[in-house]
């Protein structure tokens, strides 16, 4: 499948999970908890799903014009 060349700028969106996860001071905290689970754990768990979702969005944004 040939992607539109200018669609490549959507790749920059994929840096978001990196920014969210590679700076531990951002999430190394206990509160707020969800069902007693500290923030440190559920934040990263949620970001696994978000990272997949984000990749899905980029795939969708970059799809072929003729696939629309």
């Amino acid at each position: 499948m040939l992607r539109r060349p200018h669609a490549r700028h959507w790749y920059w969106l994929l840096l978001l999970p990196y920014a969210a996860l590679l700076w531990p001071p951002l999430y190394a905290r206990h509160d707020p908890t969800i069902a007693g689970i500290p923030f440190f754990y559920w934040y990263q768990f949620v970001w696994i799903a978000l990272s997949g979702l984000m990749t899905g969005c980029v795939a969708w944004l970059m799809r072929n014009p003729e696939e629309r």
């Binding site: 499948m1 992607r3 994929l14 999970p17 069902a35 990263q44 696994i48 997949g52 984000m54 003729e66």
Partner: protein, 521 residues
């Protein structure tokens, strides 16, 4: 641990089932199994669904299921770096994976070394990449055996005496036989069973075990108390002193994962770039699973388990918390979870041997059938080597060797991923960078007593970080600095046998370009 008849019966039944499936693999999606790309890559024919099982089954190994919870049990929050690691790897491969698949399909590549040979026209760089791949894969296969051993010991088989290694030898012999016959088709078929069993076990454990222990909130609180009572107390939240180690472990591991030969094999089995893109969207489902498995370390702490060997945390947890027959399912999940990656790893190492050493040096001009026969044979030798490694040497050797290997494999990234996008790097500069990176990745764990995290001194500051990533930065710096030097001294760059068109995806709906039967064909 006391043997249990129900556990053993369920385990053996499931093991029998996957053995039958493994042998059925050669008849699945039939192809000419005397050709390397049919045997090793199943003819590059797997769609989204099968690829998802195959790549997931390939990347999340039995050792992961054993070692990650053991690390969490031992070190608390630091062990959770597996979460950002497996969250960040897929966006990365989403970017370069389709390009890699395209050029590999167009030029008939089966290994990274094939690509390096054509792109840089450098025998030494090709050999470096192939040797690093084989060297990194061998202990990884050995670790699958370590994972199996832990479970087999928990099943009640003798752990001492002359029969000690019999179960693992039998299991590996069956694996070797069906991989020899069916190639990648065998583990792909087994991967579907593996994943169903793993998902069933993990989801059941995630619901049932915390319910016994009073809910996840209680589990985390109890784990926090247990960690605080250690001789070196550990907090429930990552300590500031561990921030750089955590982030570099996550990033370095994410960068390294798809440099392993077996990861490439799983990727190249896909039938198209769309399959790869869709898989990079869907594979984080396994990462969620891995996150839950990591939390098993806390379940074990909350349940008050104290295994002599931390690697036995998960088997012990399953055996104490599940009814015997379901423990059998869980144990089978781990052992089958070892067979799938072990099979793919042996195929990948065999490909490297065959394509780079056998075809280039030992038997130039061999026929495609001879090439494939050699790879099949090599897959047996690789498995035998890993088996001898585990039986003959203390387990610690395999674990430590794997630690080095993780650092080594990352050193092939500049040539491989760099080469996908640019020929700016000089082949000699890349080789020098690789050499320096390998030396650094060996030196750092060696002087810290086999630790992945190295305390780097920058002026008065000490920055603990993943040794592999530090070595990688050094590697990249050397390659970048020496490239202009090599050019200025007039060192030849060699002929690039790929063309820009080889990297471009086919327009949607166009007939696929027939794959070359071999590199350079």
């Amino acid at each position: 641990m006391h043997p249990n008849a129900a556990t053993l019966a369920v385990f053996l039944a499931l093991f029998g089932l996957v053995s039958v499936l493994g042998f059925a693999g050669e008849r699945w999606r039939r192809g000419d199994l005397s050709l390397l790309h049919e045997w090793a890559l199943a003819g590059r024919r797997f769609g989204t669904f099968v690829s998802w099982f195959l790549i997931g089954g390939d990347l999340y190994t039995a050792y992961t299921f054993i070692a990650v919870p053991a690390l969490v049990y031992g070190q608390g929050p630091l062990g959770f770096f597996a979460l950002p690691y497996t969250a960040l790897v897929y966006p990365l491969v989403f970017v370069f994976g389709p390009r890699l698949w395209t050029v590999a399909r167009r030029r008939g590549y089966i290994t990274y070394a094939d690509f390096i040979r054509e792109r840089y026209d450098s025998r030494s760089l090709e050999l470096a990449v192939a040797a690093t791949g084989i060297l990194a894969t061998m202990p990884y296969i050995a670790l699958q055996l370590v994972g199996m051993q832990v479970v087999i010991a928990s099943l009640g088989f003798p752990t001492t005496g002359p029969l000690r290694d019999l179960p693992i030898v039998v299991a590996f012999a069956i694996l070797a036989a069906y991989t020899y016959r069916g190639g990648l088709r065998a583990p792909a078929l087994v991967a579907i069973v593996k994943d169903v069993l793993i998902y069933a076990t993990v989801i059941a454990a995630t619901i049932v075990i915390p319910a016994h222990l009073g809910g996840w909130g209680r589990v985390f609180a109890a784990a926090g108390q247990a960690l605080a009572k250690r001789p070196h107390p550990i907090g429930l939240v990552l300590a500031p002193g561990d921030f750089t180690a955590y982030a570099t472990l996550a990033l370095g591991s994410a960068l390294a994962l798809f440099m392993y030969p077996h990861s490439l094999t799983g990727l190249l089995g896909a039938s198209g770039t769309g399959v790869i893109r869709r898989n990079m969207v869907l594979l984080p489902a396994y990462s969620l699973l891995l996150a839950l498995i990591a939390a098993f370390g806390y379940l074990a702490l909350a349940a008050g388990l104290s295994p002599a060997n931390p690697n036995a945390v998960v088997p012990q947890l399953l055996a104490t918390e599940f009814t015997p027959w379901f423990t059998g399912v869980g144990f089978a999940a781990i052992v089958i979870g070892a067979l799938v990656p072990a099979a793919i790893m042996s195929i990948a190492a065999a490909n490297l041997w065959t394509r780079t050493i056998y075809r280039e040096y030992l038997r130039p001009g061999c026929t495609p059938a001879q090439e494939c026969a050699q790879a099949k044979l090599a897959s047996l030798v690789v498995k035998l080597g890993a088996l001898l490694f585990v039986i003959g040497l203390p387990t610690e050797y395999a674990i430590n060797f794997q630690l080095f290997a993780g650092g080594w494999i990352l050193q092939t990234l500049p040539a491989i991923v760099g080469g996908l996008y640019t020929r700016w790097f000089h082949r000699r500069a890349l080789f020098a960078g690789w050499l320096v990176g390998m030396a650094a990745a060996t030196y750092m764990p060696a002087v810290t007593g086999f630790r992945a995290v190295y305390p780097l001194h920058i002026g008065v500051h000490v920055v603990p970080g993943f040794a592999a990533l530090y070595a990688f930065v050094l590697n990249l710096a050397v390659a970048a600095a020496l490239t202009p030097v090599c050019d200025r001294t007039g060192a030849r760059r060699g002929t690039d046998r790929t063309t820009p068109a080889d990297y471009e995806e086919e327009p949607a709906g166009a007939a696929p370009v027939p794959a070359a039967s071999g590199a350079g064909a």
